[in-house]
C-alpha cells in the first residue's frame, strides 16, 4: 500500500470512531487537533486500525507516535515486514 492509501484508510477509521464522516486529516494532524480524539476514542482507533490492517502495535510504539504521519509510517513498516 502507498502512504496515501494508508492515510485514506486511517481517515475513514478515525472518522468512523469519532462519528465524523467529513473528517479531513493529513500527516501533520495530531490528536489534539481533532475534536473528540481522547483517551477512549484513541483506544478504539488503535484497535480498529489493528483489525483493519491485520497488524499489532506495541505500547512503546504507540507512545512514540506524535502525529498521523508517524502513525502511517509505522503501519507501512509493519505491512512491509509481513
Amino acid at each position: 500500500m502507498t502512504e496515501r492509501e494508508i492515510l485514506d484508510d486511517l481517515q475513514q477509521i478515525i472518522g468512523h470512531v469519532l462519528d465524523k464522516s467529513d473528517l479531513c486529516i493529513d500527516g501533520n494532524t495530531t490528536a489534539s487537533d481533532v475534536d473528540g480524539w481522547n483517551s477512549l476514542t484513541n483506544m478504539q482507533i488503535i484497535s480498529d486500525t489493528e483489525s483493519h490492517f491485520k497488524i499489532k502495535f506495541k505500547l512503546r510504539e504507540i507512545i512514540k507516535l506524535k502525529n498521523v504521519g508517524d502513525f502511517c509510517k509505522i503501519i507501512q513498516d509493519k505491512l512491509d515486514s509481513k
Binding site: A31, G36, N38, L40, N42, S47, K58, L59, I63
Partner: protein, 482 residues
C-alpha cells in the same frame, strides 16, 4: 547537589530546579502583592509559571481559582463572574481574557528572591476554589481552606507512605481537578520532583511514557489509565514504582490484580474523597497475598483517614447499622465550609448530627463489621468520566436551553463491553436536522468530556406507569440502535 539545584518539576520534557521555581515565584509574587482581590483566577496551563503562580498566591495569603485553558470560554467566564474577581494570571502566549486585568506571568522579570512567608494566615482562609459540574447548568464552586488542606497533608502523612527528596512523582491531572493538588504539593513539600502531563495529551499514553522512561516512584492515577493500558499489561514492568494510588473513580479489583504484576515493588492504594472533603479522606491498601474486599468487583474504599468520621444514612437521613446500604456521609476537618455563594446547595448537602457537621456524598456505600467501606456507585445522576465529575442534568439543562426549553432531552451514560463510558443524548423531536448545531452549542458551554458521543432523536419519549419519562425504555431503545 544543593537543595536549590534539585529538580522541582519536569514539564514538557524540561527539568526546572527549585531555584528556577523560587525565581519564578518571586517575580510573580511581586505582582500578586499589588492585587487587591483575595481570590485570583489562574489559567491552568502546563508550565512553570502556572505552578509558581500557585505558590506566589499562597505566599501572599490569597486563594487560587483554576480555569481550564481548553474549556469553553462561556463556562470559564461564568466561573470568573461567580468569583467576582477582575484579575487573571495567565501564562498563555495569547490570552482569552482581554476584558480583565490580565497578568501575563511569562513576561514578568525576576529582580530578587521573595519567598519568605511572613504574613500569618488563619486556617479559615481559602487555599483554592474548584468549580465542578453543577446540576443547574452552572458550575458550582467548592471552597477549600488552608486548614482543610493542612489536615489532608497531616492525614496523608499519617497513612502509610512518606515521600522524600529522591521521589519522582507523577502529576497527570488538570489543575481544575483536586487530585492535582496532592500530585504537585506532596512532592514540593518533600523536595521531590513532579513530572507533569499537559491536558492536550492522551493521558494514559503520556502517563505510561513517564512511568516507564522517567522511572516514576510515586503515582496518583485514575483507574481509567490502567484500564486503557490493560491490552498491554504483558509489556509493562515498572520496578521503580514504589507507590500507586488510585482515586477519582470506582476501582475494579481485577484491574488492581493485573497492576500489581506490572508494579511488583509498589504499595497499591485505593483512595476515596469528594472535592468537598479535600482530595482524599478514606483509603484501602491492596494486599498482594489476596483477601481484598470488594462488592460487584469494586475494591473497598477502606477506612476513614485521620481526622475523618463516616456514617451511612437512609433517604430520611437516619443513621443505618453496619452492612446496610445507604448514602455515605463524611465529617472531617478536611470538610469544606460550603459552596461558593450557594446557600441553597449548602442546605441540601450538609447537616449536623450529634454536634458534628456532615456532608452527604451522594455515594451509595455500606460499612462492614471491620469498619471497611464498600462502594456501590452513585445515588444521583452524577457519573464519572475519566475521573471527572459529570452531572448528566447539567448536560440536559444546556441542551434544553438550546431548544428554548420546548423539547425534552435525556443524557445517559452508555457502557460498552469493556466498561468504557460515553454519554449519549436523546432529544424528543422529529428529525435530526439541527444535530450539528446542538453539538456546537453544547461545545460552547461544556468541557469536552461532557460532550455526547452520539445524539438520537425520538418523536415522543416512552412513558412509564407513573406517566414519567421512562429512562430505562429510552436507554434500551438507543442500545438497540448502537
Amino acid at each position: 547537589m544543593t537543595e536549590r539545584g534539585r529538580s522541582a518539576f519536569f514539564i514538557q520534557g524540561v527539568y526546572y530546579s527549585y531555584d528556577d521555581l523560587m525565581k519564578c515565584v518571586s517575580k510573580i509574587r511581586q505582582t500578586v502583592h499589588r492585587i487587591p482581590d483575595n481570590n485570583i483566577t489562574l489559567i491552568a496551563n502546563d508550565d512553570l509559571e502556572t505552578y509558581a503562580s500557585i505558590v506566589a498566591i499562597w505566599l501572599e495569603g490569597k486563594c487560587y481559582v483554576p480555569i481550564h485553558p481548553l474549556q469553553p470560554l462561556e463556562r470559564c467566564l461564568d466561573i470568573i463572574t461567580q468569583v467576582g474577581t477582575s484579575y487573571v494570571l495567565d501564562s498563555s502566549d495569547e490570552t482569552r481574557y482581554s476584558d480583565y486585568h490580565v497578568i501575563s506571568t511569562k513576561h514578568l522579570l525576576f529582580t530578587d528572591y521573595d519567598i519568605d512567608f511572613e504574613k500569618g494566615c488563619s486556617d479559615e482562609e481559602l487555599a483554592y476554589i474548584l468549580f465542578t459540574s453543577g446540576s443547574t447548568g452552572k458550575p458550582k464552586g467548592v471552597k477549600i481552606s488552608r486548614g482543610n488542606l493542612a489536615a489532608f497533608i497531616t492525614a496523608f502523612n499519617a497513612f502509610d507512605y512518606q515521600l522524600d527528596e529522591n521521589d519522582r512523582c507523577l502529576q497527570m491531572f488538570d489543575l481544575t481537578f483536586d487530585l492535582s493538588v496532592m500530585s504537585y504539593l506532596l512532592p514540593l513539600l518533600s523536595g521531590a520532583c513532579a513530572y507533569t502531563i499537559s491536558s492536550s495529551k492522551i493521558k494514559y499514553q503520556a502517563a505510561f511514557e513517564l512511568l516507564d522512561e522517567q522511572q516514576i516512584s510515586f503515582a496518583v492515577m485514575v483507574p481509567s489509565v490502567v484500564h486503557y493500558l490493560q491490552p498491554y499489561m504483558d509489556e509493562i514492568n515498572l520496578p521503580s514504582l514504589r507507590y500507586s494510588l488510585f482515586a477519582g473513580e470506582a476501582l475494579p479489583l481485577d484491574l488492581v490484580d493485573l497492576w500489581s504484576q506490572c508494579a511488583p515493588n509498589s504499595i497499591i492504594v485505593n483512595g476515596y474523597g469528594p472535592t468537598e472533603c479535600t482530595i482524599l479522606c478514606t483509603a484501602c491498601i491492596y494486599d498482594v497475598t489476596g483477601g481484598n474486599k470488594s462488592v460487584n468487583g469494586t475494591m473497598s474504599i477502606g477506612k476513614p483517614m485521620l481526622g475523618t468520621e463516616v456514617m451511612i444514612v437512609d433517604d430520611n437521613c437516619e443513621k443505618l447499622p453496619n452492612r446496610k446500604k445507604g448514602e455515605l456521609c463524611l465529617s472531617s476537618i478536611q470538610l469544606t465550609s460550603g459552596y461558593w455563594n450557594n446557600s441553597s446547595r449548602d442546605a441540601e448537602s450538609f447537616f449536623v448530627f450529634e454536634n458534628k457537621r456532615y456532608y452527604k456524598t451522594g455515594d451509595l456505600c455500606s460499612i462492614d463489621e471491620d469498619g471497611d467501606i464498600m462502594y456501590y456507585g452513585r445515588k444521583d445522576s452524577q457519573i464519572k468520566i475519566q475521573g471527572f465529575r459529570v452531572e448528566l442534568s447539567e448536560i440536559e439543562f444546556i441542551a434544553r436551553r438550546f431548544y428554548s426549553h420546548n423539547n425534552a432531552v435525556v443524557a445517559m451514560p452508555v457502557y460498552d463491553d469493556k466498561n468504557n463510558c460515553t454519554i449519549q443524548l436523546v432529544v424528543e423531536k422529529a428529525g435530526r436536522d439541527d444535530a450539528d448545531a446542538l453539538i456546537a452549542y453544547l461545545k460552547k458551554y461544556l468541557p469536552s468530556y461532557m460532550i455526547p458521543a452520539r445524539t438520537y432523536f425520538m418523536s415522543s419519549f416512552p412513558m412509564n406507569v407513573n406517566n414519567k419519562m421512562d429512562r430505562k425504555k429510552i436507554k434500551s431503545l438507543i442500545s438497540s440502535k448502537n
